[in-house]
Symmetry: C2
Subunit: 94 residues, 2 copies
Amino acid sequence: MSFSVNHYFDNKVTSIAFESAQGPCTSGVMSPGEYTFGTTQHELMKVVEGELVVKLPNSDEWTSYPAGTEFEVEANVSFDVKVSVATAYLCFYS
Amino acid sequence: MSFSVNHYFDNKVTSIAFESAQGPCTSGVMSPGEYTFGTTQHELMKVVEGELVVKLPNSDEWTSYPAGTEFEVEANVSFDVKVSVATAYLCFYS
């Protein structure tokens, strides 16, 4: 098995796709910046290093998710993320 | 900032290098297999998904490190890892 590596946002976000015991997953790193991600599946995002500040769909509030925390996003929506320090995450798709 | 991606062991191990708030770090994924890694710096390995079964330097014992656990390895040694399910890790160098 080898892994596919994807680059987004002019290489400011990079991720490695793999099949975890819980299903399809990506392990990625985000550079400092602001990003809008679109979902095609339900996503469980676990922050494993650093911090994501997130505005979820249908919310006007920004919420901090530091390392060790997680949040979920429905399929077929978009959400906004602010990153101030390089941050590693796991994203589980279902 | 963009990231460098490295591939090891015939692409069975892939990692993304970044500068974390704690210093140089790699976020990687290992396929099932057995690997021997050599260190050039002190490494703090955090397992974030899956499981690593590890034989540390100067040890004859294999120890399980599931997601949420970590281990340290000195510089300039080698250690052995067995992986039975795709496993994501963070490695901090110091």
